[in-house]
Structure formats: C-alpha cells, structure tokens
C-alpha cells in the first residue's frame, strides 16, 4: 500500500491534526507522500519526515492559497496519480472532509470519515469510526481498491522521530469549474488557540449570566494556554461568537482537559465533548447532569471558584 497524506497549514505551520494524519499514514505503509498547499517554508515541509513522510509534493501556486474545495480535490487526486497512492489520509476538518468526498468520487474510492483508530488488515480492510456524535463506534469494511480516510484528532499517537522528507514542487492541472467558487474574504477568529485543535478548553454556559462576565473564562484560559468555548444558548444570544459553540450542532472538541463552567450538561452539549480525555465541571447545582460525565467536579458558584482556580494555577506556573 502506498499512502498520500493531505496536510493543512495555518500561518505557515503544518497543523498538528495533519501531522497526526502523517503519523497515521506511516502506520499503514512505509511509502508516505505528503501533499501540501500554499505558503509553507521548505524546512517546515521537510519536518513531516519526523512523522514518517518520505516525500512532499508542494503546490505553491498562489491560486491555491485559499482552501477551494473543488480545486483541492482535483489537485489531490492528481497527486495520488503522481505518487501512485492507493490510499489517501487526512485530518477530519472543515476543509478535509468536504475535499475527501470529492476525491473519493474521482478515484472510485471507499471513504470513511471520523476514523478513530488504525485499520485492521487481518481480514480485508476494516476501520473504526466514531458515530452518533461520539456516543458509539462502528467498524466498517472497505472493499474498494482505493481507500480515503479522514481521521479524528488523537486517532494515533504523535511521536517525533528524526527523518526528513524530500520536497518537490507539484503543479496540478486545474479542471474546468475548479475555481467556480470564489473566496472573497477570510475572517480569522480572535484568540491565539484554535478551539478544534486545543489541548485545553475552558467553556462557559448560561450560568455565567452575561457576556460581561467572560473575563473570568478568558483569564483562566490564558493562564492555561487554553481555547475558549461555550454552550449553544450562549452563542445563540450572541454572548460569544458562533465558532465557540461546542456540542452536537457545534464544534466537537477532543482536548486533554475540558473545563465546563456554568453549563448544565445537556446531552447535546456532551455530544461535543465526549472525546475529551479529562473533564472538570464547575456548577452550583449538585444535580447538574454534567457531573455524571465528569472526571472532577466542584459544586460552587462560578463567580467565586473561577478566580480562585486561576490564582492557584498561576501560583503553580
């Protein structure tokens, strides 16, 4: 098997979830080629070798700086031809997943998204995926010769090795309609830590009473180097921007630590956090359902507990 890995970058840095995709590819095969788009420096591209890539196909043409779904799908399918790949791996993301769909059709491939574990090839090609928004798993069998997998965060452990990948320029042949969608502007959210990738998330709910009280959440997040999140009513009421909304209909997070403050723990909220490794719940109601899903809990008033917690962590650092 020969694997092509589509990696995404932000501000010239390859995303951690994409490095996980490289590491995943390296567990499937010794032949791992990466395809990368846009303005990424050679040494950054070479560093994918540390996770098992042999070679990088770099598409540096400016028209590919933005993630245009159709154009990326065409380019990636051509990169698969170029490298002779019979499998494509990428991170499950707002770009990766829609692109994977189109590549799968182009290549007549079997596609599995939300993959949570390495494939089992002892009896054909079987792979496990998360379903029902993290509430269960399904193992599926892919019979098609070509496989496309979009993997979830933490599907594989990221261990840094010592290799270096050879970087080659690659120029795809754009097809008719590839740039039919025009990206006219890109707005980046405020804050340093991106929620979907964060290792620690501090999230606030309706219990915080109003947007003016988010300073406490931000202080704790800053102290921890964490991203901030919220429950759906909080973003519905415009206390916080929509992209911070965690849950069934929002962002699904998978951090090492999720701290929920003044969130009741409705099943739809839990659906977005059930892949977290550790959950801390701070709620004044001892009956709040979130405590049943938590590892650590404090029954108390957020307005008293949060500042104390932030101080205690500051003291530690």
């Amino acid at each position: 098997m020969s694997v092509l890995v589509f990696v995404e970058s932000a501000e010239g840095k390859i995303k951690k979830t994409s490095l996980e995709a490289v590491a995943y590819g390296a567990k499937m095969s010794d032949e791992v080629v990466v395809v990368a788009f846009g303005n990424v420096a050679s040494d950054e591209l070479e560093s994918t070798g540390k996770y098992g890539a042999n070679k990088v196909l770099h598409i540096s043409d400016d028209s590919y700086n933005d993630g245009v779904i159709q154009a990326y799908a065409t380019a990636i399918a051509q990169a698969m031809d170029q490298s002779g790949a019979d499998a494509l791996v990428m991170a499950n993301s707002s770009l990766g997943t829609p692109v994977a769909a189109r590549v799968a059709i182009k290549k007549g491939a079997g596609l599995v998204t939300n993959v949570s574990d390495l494939p089992d090839t002892s009896n054909g090609f079987e792979v496990k995926k998360s379903i029902y928004t993290g509430k269960a798993f399904a193992t599926v069998k892919v019979d098609k010769a070509i496989k496309v997998l979009a993997i979830k965060k933490n599907a594989v452990e990221l261990v840094e090795g010592s290799g270096s990948a050879a970087v080659e320029a690659f120029s795809p042949n754009a097809q008719d309609g590839d740039f039919a969608t025009k990206i006219t502007a890109t707005k980046k959210a405020e804050g340093d830590v991106l929620l979907p990738e964060a290792e620690i998330v501090v999230s606030g709910g309706r219990g915080l009473k109003g947007p003016e009280n988010w300073g406490m959440i931000e202080d704790l997040a800053k102290t921890l180097g964490a991203a901030t999140g919220c429950s759906k009513p909080v973003s519905d009421m415009d206390w916080r921007p929509h992209h911070e909304h965690v849950g069934q209909t929002g962002v699904k997070v998978a951090p090492n630590l999720y701290i929920a403050v003044g969130i009741s723990g409705a099943i739809q909220h839990l659906a977005g956090v059930n892949s977290s490794k550790n959950i801390v719940v701070i709620n004044k109601d001892p009956e709040a359902p979130f405590f049943k899903a938590a590892d650590y809990g404090i029954v108390g008033d957020a307005f008293e507990v949060l500042p104390k917690l932030t101080e205690a962590i500051k003291a530690l650092k």
Binding site: A10, N92, P98, T184, A185, L257, Y296
Partner: protein, 245 residues
C-alpha cells in the same frame, strides 16, 4: 427557481444509543425520529428563500416507509412536494448516488442539505453529489444569500470563516446560524397531508463501505468531587493524577 432539500430521518438528539442483533443493528426501541438538525437548518433557509424569491421546494429522503412522518413534517414546514427513494440509507456513496440521480432528473438550481447526518456523521454526501453532478459543493455553510443567479455564502473554517461567491446551481451542506429551525403550524400540518409524496425506487447498489459491527465506548469512571473551598486540591489532581497541567 427549483430548490431541493435532502433530509435525513435520524434518532432524536436525546436518544439513548444501543444496539441489537449482535451489535449489528441500531435499537430503535423507544427512540423518536426527527429531521436531522443540520438538514432542518437547510430546510428552514430554503423556506425563507422560497418566501422571498418565489420557488418550488422539494424535499428528498433516501429511506424506508418509516421515514414518512419525518418527510410529512418537512412538508408541513413548507416544502411543496417530496420524493422518498425507497431504500435503507446505509452508506454515504449509495445515498449520494440516489440524490445525484434524482437531482439531475429534477434540474434543481439549488441543492441544500445538512453538513452531516447525526447518526453516521459522515459529512460527505454534499461533496459526493457535487462531484457526481459536476457542480460546486460548499460545506459547512453558515449563511446563504441569493442575488439573482449568484449566491453569497459564508463557510466555517477552523477558527474563522470564509466569504464565498458562487453562481447557481450548486450543492451546500448547511449548519447554523443559516436560519432558525421552523416549527410547523396547524395550517402547515393540515396541508402537508395532501401534498405529493412520491416514492421512487433506488438506482444501482454501489456502496463505499459495509458495516461490520457497532460498539459502545468504555464506561466512564466515577466523578471525583472536590470542595469549592479547596481548589488547590483540584489543581493538585490535574497536575499529578490527570497529568494535564
């Protein structure tokens, strides 16, 4: 203008998930089914576009007869007619092939659906349909405005959003805040009973992957409660037990 909205028929978001038949079947016992929440956003926006611009609005579901109450609900919310492709929606490639076939036959200007279903969470049917039909596909779409033949969309990206301009026809996978969910009113429910719901047969049987079995996640350990006056203990546990600080 002709709008097609594809809807899933999925367990309510509060459903207890469990499996039967040696973990190969979803246990529908006591489970209530709904229009997929993301599809419901797509439908709500389509109804608004229809009201603003004049359009015919068709809903399509790939599903068995038990999905008909869900389809009727979409008709009550404001769709004019419905197509049910009579087959189990067990695989995203299979579903995409069905949608593409009937979408092509209907010649729609706009094909909307949710960004993903909430049962299998594939998130790929919109892209597959777009690729099969040679149309642009955009997902996850947060806003959609029409100006004649051109649409302005915003698409969510990790930690931000993109503004996108695209001409009709295209396929979009929708999410909030594209519109607010609509609750059918009495008149809608009455008229939905007589709106056409056409049952058609599936085309082909190609699938991308087949189910081997389902599995539940390992049970969660008990929560450790810490006194509110002793946050130092929490910090200590996070540092030395969970090892996350």
């Amino acid at each position: 203008m002709k709008i097609l909205v594809c809807i899933t028929h999925v367990p309510d978001t509060t459903s207890r998930i469990s499996f039967t038949d040696n973990d190969t079947k979803f246990d529908t016992n006591g489970v209530q089914f709904i229009i997929g929440p993301y599809d419901d956003y797509a439908l709500a926006r389509a109804v608004e576009l229809k009201e603003a611009n004049g359009a015919t609005l068709t809903v399509l579901n790939v599903g068995l007869a038990d999905a008909e109450p869900t389809i009727r609900k979409a008709l009550a919310i404001g769709a004019d007619d419905a197509i049910r492709v009579n087959a189990e929606p067990s695989d995203s490639l299979f579903v995409a092939n069905q949608i593409a076939h009937y979408a092509k036959e209907g010649g729609y200007d706009l094909i909307l659906m949710g960004r993903e279903s909430i049962d299998f969470n594939g998130g790929v049917v919109h892209g597959m349909v777009g690729e099969i039909l040679g149309l642009p596909s955009i997902s996850p779409v947060m806003t959609l405005e029409l100006d004649g033949n051109t649409a302005q969309l915003s698409r969510e990206i990790e930690g931000g959003k993109e503004q996108i301009e695209v001409d009709l026809p295209f396929v979009a996978g929708c999410q909030e805040p594209i519109a607010e969910w609509k609750i059918p009113n009495m008149r809608g429910i009455m008229t939905a009973r007589t709106k056409p719901l056409n049952v058609v047969e599936p085309v082909g049987d190609e699938t991308g992957a087949t189910l081997v079995n389902f599995e539940m996640p390992p049970a969660k350990g008990a929560v450790k409660m810490i006194d509110a006056d002793n946050v130092g203990e929490l910090v200590d546990l996070l540092k030395n037990e969970a090892k996350v600080l």
